[in-house]
Amino acid sequence: MINKYNSIWHAICLKSSVVRRRMRVQATSWFDLFHGHPTGVTSLVIKDVDIPGQGKLHVVRSVDCMGAMCPRPQLLTMKVLGEVGPGEVVEVKMDNPTAVEGFPALAQTIGCTHLATVRESGCWCVYLRKAL
């Protein structure tokens, strides 16, 4: 009888620890969405990106604007475009739909070419080419 109760108790403990662990993982993954994600990180990258309808693009800089509110994505992009050479391609990664909408108009204003807006899971990548 005692063994039977023990095994039930062990099963409850095991099950609750699994549930607790699952909840902890879920909560931490949820908080990972925001805990101090450094917005507006610009990194020097040299990579080739295959864009449908555009072919291969040679990207020289990438701006990470995940989680950033306007006008940070726009201001950072302008700053980075000021640092790269004519004709070079910059990638801007954003998850702010309002900012994404404004990028073609921004490119027009600053004399760049808006090459593509590529939608990925949970974000957009905008590719801009600095004017020659």
């Binding site: 949820w30 101090g36 989680g67 306007c70 006008p71 909408e101 404004g102 027009q108 590529v118």
Partner: protein, 483 residues
């Protein structure tokens, strides 16, 4: 410009996607709640009008990524007129529909008092919106996209307004003695204690002595078709819109457009083509502008018609008739603008929560005399704001753009400080960019242009401050990395 838009995500048919099903669920939830409200009392249809127009506003705002904060901010931050153009399109269309509604006798509009408070309040509001990343409506629809930063902004707007309108003590030293004397001379019930509380003194001693009129009223033509169409619509709304659009084209768009099209000596035809290109540079925004303008006018018509149907002047009368007497002002009224409005109902949310926490503010003019502090479940314009959040959620889910986004410490700080400034500014100016600008200029009240002027000054200073902050924080990070 060679634009390519592509997606790397693929999956089942869009109707069967999880996000589409969630969007449908949110929509059906609103339908179900509406039916339950009607089953309880058909007179709740008055409140449901706010809900459904809010839902439609939210969907359109999200569809066009219609951010009125960016309309003024982007002119200085990045020199892009896209959103300013969208906003002007919405103003023009709202003005046309508002004229029809006024001619039909269903207008619910009341002009704002004209004075320096509008410029000061609007400037504080304009400064705040640069740091929050959205105006009051923008924050609502962005909250509907899952942006918790915007939810913080809404909280900050709600509580800052509630505190501002009910604060007394040392705050009272902020107002001049002449206002206290003017407030004391007003014949008001003692329970309002209008000589205590700086906002009460500001309202009774300053605002009530100012005049708020439409252009038609200035020329004694308020009730005439000529006054409504020519003075209120054409002169107060359409003409300034045309001037602003031409200015936006000349100062922000023309140079780039002519360079792109290679026209060295443009003809009038080229200039008109350039203007058209400016209008259509963002189709989603232009479509949202058209939709919002028409809807905002229709909203006023439907509410006006319902008031006529129930023979009421204010939703408070309907609430009393339905047996809900709690939270009404001493005039048995509640906040019920009858058109698109944002900030006052948010102040009521904050005031209601504070009341539940034991901080009663019904002795203030703002709540006690004018707007009341109804239960949020009976707050009709409050449901419009909730409708905007839900409408934006439906649209964002349907377009797979919904994403829970939690702020980092910096953006949370900006949301709270910026939202607080927006709340203070909105109360000083007697409304935000919707209630004090969008709804006013379209109904012939020129005070809205004063608000836009103040908001533009605030946004300009805000952009300078934000740019300085970005440069300073970047240089600090660089020096830390260097160490």
């Amino acid at each position: 410009m060679n634009v390519a838009t592509a997606t790397t995500a693929s999956g089942p048919h869009w109707l069967l996607r999880k996000s589409s099903l969630q969007a449908t669920s949110v929509f059906l939830l609103v339908v179900l709640c509406s039916l339950l409200a009607l089953a309880k009392d058909t007179r709740f249809v008055y409140m449901l009008v706010y809900v459904w127009f809010g839902l439609a506003y939210g969907m359109l705002l999200q569809y066009g990524r219609f951010c009125m904060a960016s309309a003024v901010r982007d002119l200085f931050a990045v020199k892009v007129p896209r959103m300013a153009v969208g906003m002007m399109i919405a103003v023009a269309l709202y003005a046309v529909v508002a004229a029809i509604v006024t001619l039909a006798g269903f207008s619910t509009f009341h002009p704002n008092a004209m004075g320096w408070h509008i410029v000061i309040g609007a400037a504080i509001f304009g400064f705040g919106i640069v740091f929050t990343g959205g105006c009051a409506s923008g924050s609502l629809y962005k909250a509907g996209e899952g942006n918790m930063n915007s939810m913080l902004v809404i909280l900050a707007i709600s509580f800052s307004q509630a505190i501002v309108v009910s604060a007394s003590g040392w705050w009272d030293s902020l107002v001049p003695q002449s206002w206290i004397a003017a407030a004391a001379a007003q014949d008001m019930p003692a329970e309002l204690t209008i000589t205590q509380g700086w906002f009460d003194i500001f309202t009774a001693g300053y605002i009530w002595n100012l005049k708020g009129t439409t252009t038609a009223e200035i020329f004694d033509m308020a009730g005439t078709a000529t006054g409504i169409v020519l003075l209120n619509t054409m002169l107060t709304a359409i003409l300034p819109v045309i001037i602003i659009l031409v200015a936006l084209y000349v100062f922000y768009y023309r140079k780039g457009h002519l360079r792109r099209t290679g026209k060295a000596n443009p003809t009038l035809r080229d200039e008109i083509a350039g203007m058209w290109a400016m209008f259509t540079s963002s189709k989603n925004t232009a479509i949202a502008g058209i939709g919002l303008g028409i809807l905002a006018g229709l909203h006023m018509y439907v509410t006006g018609a319902l008031r006529e149907h129930y023979d009421i002047f204010n939703f408070g009368e309907l609430l009393v008739a339905m047996g809900y007497t709690s939270g009404l002002s001493i005039q048995d009224t509640v906040f019920d603008p009858g058109y698109w409005y944002i900030t006052t109902q948010e102040a009521q949310w904050g005031g209601w929560v504070m009341q539940k926490l034991g901080i009663d503010s019904m002795d203030s003019i703002f709540f006690g005399l004018d707007n009341g502090l109804p239960n949020p479940l009976l707050n009709a314009p409050g449901f419009m704001s909730i409708g905007i959040i839900l409408g934006a959620s439906v649209m964002a889910l349907a377009r797979r753009e919904f994403k829970w986004k939690l702020p980092n410490w910096e953006s949370a700080f900006f949301a709270i400080v910026g939202g607080t400034l927006m709340g203070i500014g909105a109360r000083l100016a007697m409304g935000c960019n919707i209630g004090a600008f969008f709804a006013t200029v379209t109904n012939g009240d020129p005070s809205g242009w004063v608000f836009l002027f103040g908001m533009t000054i605030g946004a300009y200073i805000g952009v300078k401050a934000f740019t300085w902050w970005m440069d300073w924080s970047d240089s600090r990070k660089t020096s830390e990395c260097g160490l």
